[in-house]
Symmetry: C2
Subunit: 431 residues, 2 copies
């Protein structure tokens, strides 16, 4: 990977693969070192849950891991400093290990948000435990509880900070802001159009925000909430405000966790891959399904067999069609290949196994045995973050009946994919 | 029902039953007429959906119907005026009819929020189409897209408005509010603790807010967003600001619909009623289940048989235990009684039918017939908003195996109740 290297601090080699610059076949748009500070020492009392919200699980994975991953996949981001409360250190270390977050260093938080951020910044300047991190040109400050970040927005924020010294995401106000009298009555209300909600990510030239924090008063450390304001007050740097997408919203209350889960589930439900097998019946069924799922807005690939080179976890939703007999070997092979992909733990992969019965020649005993084999296989699969579901359907020569059955199959398929509910794995559903 | 009647405009008879004042065995806390104006003429462009968000469906029912119901169940609220865009009139009328909203009148909206609210207020003062509504002492103004309202908070707002002329819900700011320069840079930021987000409900002495709107300038009608401000500017009335619960939040973006659904689903998953039958096996199973579900935080009643007087829809989740044979008559009877309850369409009721197999003497043919009968019954049930699911389990004399089976049954039960997914009705799951 070539890059325009104007900065002597810049590491020459980068290993990360899914970089915007590469996917668009352009040179890397950032030619200076960039790091991230992620304050995550809050207790999350507003969620009303005992676990701080950054550690609440969505599809089995802690929220903070989603946020970390959003930065880690960006090739021009070098280091991520996560600032956590002392009592969360071990939990955080476990999360980094389990989800293979290799760019992250943990730093201990302070009693307030500003103290925690400053601690994070110090990791680049002062020797702590372990090796000192390389000082970045630009540092991004973000909330651990805003997991949805696109690389192009991070790029905007980063380049604006490089140019202007500071930058921050803003959003239109959802509610009018009012000031109260001491008696709790309306004093005045602000004209909504003139103001913005300040969100994160924010970015700063490292030396500016570091200097701002060094000059911070005790009162600012204790009661302040706005990093952009520190840069303005102490360094005279006026941050560029950049309108961010609605997905930047902050997981604040308990119901926001459900929103976050819905956003993630929706993004995992965009596409599916149907493996039709070689026989005519399943290939026909595959065409029906493809049409039906495509009409419902999914992108669907249909292929006769899995190829060795294919990354199953790329589509996240694999639909395997079988006639009568069930081929456990192939499912086991799929599971193995999902597990081999480096990010199999990040999001659950769905394998939906569809049995097309074209004859009645199946005895009850055989069915029961099969049901319990499938249940056990699904238990195994769940351990490696694969959700295995089964649907069976009976072929009918009556075309209206067959159409109804296939439609029901597609309804079930979409519900299973969108729902991604671990409780229903191993079940044999009827279409 | 007795009440202290100090207001001559006050209707003497009230029919509504689930009033706070009655449930707490006190006199009705409000002795003056109260009405509601619900502006719902917005296009909801921020959701990114083609349907305005107030008409988006949650568990099959439009969001606005939840908001209406939250007011309609309060006995001291007399009328609700819903203000909708002209093109939504017929859809709104259908919603009122389908969900039996009897206290509601539809009024046509204007081009801005303030115009729409004023139109709503005029319904109490000016003759329009149909009979003029009784003028209230206090009028509550609320957003159609904030469906979660408790009666006690409405009471606070209403009484404060009666005393002070105006009142409104506020919430702490989630983000710092900033002002931008004309160049899009940070001008200054507000001290977060001094300001509040103004939410709804808001309440006003009718004559005050009516007068305020009559004096409104064209610019205010066009760009204003804050009713409390109108009362202050035109009538000198300083609204009492009252801190509201986090559930007041506004469905603004697409992901908020998922939050709202999660909140509703959670409130429907608090309790269950197990109908154990008379035989020892199912009664034992009922005890196991009750313990397991109670440990997971549910309130569980276990009774041997349904009583004629029992309102099945009250618990929203009915678990019926059967041994071997399936008693369709009893399920049909349950369905009939759910349908008879006046509010069966408001929330889907779950009937979970658990089959305990204590013998292997079931032939495949019989199972297939049964499966299709259940599937058809579930289709019928869905039409009257009942979700029928089935789980079968096999009794085991090996205690560890039996324990595992019962645990799996409880996991499935909770997942089905919490998920309330229409796609899985009629399925026969295995525990």
């Amino acid at each position: 990977m070539e890059r325009h290297d104007s900065c002597s601090e810049w590491p020459v080699e980068r290993q990360h693969e899914d970089c915007l610059s590469e996917s668009t076949q352009e040179r890397c748009p950032v030619n200076f070192p960039v790091a991230v500070v992620l304050p995550a020492a809050g207790s999350g009392e507003r969620t009303g849950l005992s676990t701080p919200k950054q550690f609440c699980r969505i599809l089995g994975r802690p929220l903070i891991s989603y946020t970390i991953h959003a930065f880690e996949r960006v090739c021009w981001i070098d280091n991520i400093v996560v600032v956590v409360a002392k009592e969360s250190h071990d939990m955080m270390a476990d999360i980094l290990h389990k989800y293979n977050h290799t760019k992250v260093k943990i730093v201990e938080g302070g009693p307030t948000r500003h103290r925690s951020i400053f601690n994070g910044l110090l990791a680049f300047s002062e020797p702590g435990v372990g090796p000192k991190l390389q000082k970045p040109k630009v540092v991004i400050i973000h909330d651990a509880v805003r997991p949805f970040l696109e690389e192009d927005f991070l790029l905007k924020i980063t380049l604006a900070a490089k140019e202007q010294g500071a930058s921050g995401a803003v959003r239109p106000l959802v509610s009018t802001v009012v000031a109260a009298t001491t008696g709790g009555c309306l004093d005045y209300s602000l004209e909504r159009a003139k103001y913005r909600a300040s969100e994160t990510p924010q970015a700063f030239i490292y030396d500016i925000i570091y200097q701002a924090y060094q000059q911070c008063s005790e009162a600012e450390f204790q009661f302040g909430t706005e990093c952009l304001d520190l840069a303005l007050q102490h360094c005279g740097t006026r941050a560029q405000l950049i309108e961010g997408p609605p997905t930047l919203w902050k997981v604040t209350h308990k119901q926001d966790l459900a929103s976050a889960e819905a956003v993630i589930k929706e993004s995992l439900s965009q596409s599916a891959c149907i493996i039709s097998g070689e026989c005519t019946e399943t290939q026909n069924l595959s065409i029906w399904m493809k049409n039906c799922l495509t009409a419902a807005g999914m992108r669907v690939d249909a292929i006769p067999n899995t190829e060795r080179s294919m990354t199953l976890s790329a589509s996240r939703n694999v639909i395997k069609l079988s006639v009568n007999s069930s081929d456990f070997v192939e499912i086991r092979e799929m599971m193995k290949r999902c597990e081999e992909s480096k990010d199999f733990l990040l999001y659950p992969v769905i394998i939906l196994w569809v049995f097309l019965n074209v004859s009645d020649q199946v005895s009850l005993r055989q069915e029961n045995d099969e049901a319990s084999t499938i249940m056990n296989l699904a238990e195994e699969a769940k351990k490696i973050n694969i959700f295995l579901y089964c649907v069976q359907l009976r072929y009918s020569k009556v075309s209206t009946e067959w159409e109804r059955t296939v439609n029901r199959l597609c309804q079930l398929t979409m519900a299973l994919i969108r729902d991604r509910n671990a409780a229903f794995t191993g079940q044999m559903l009827q279409a």
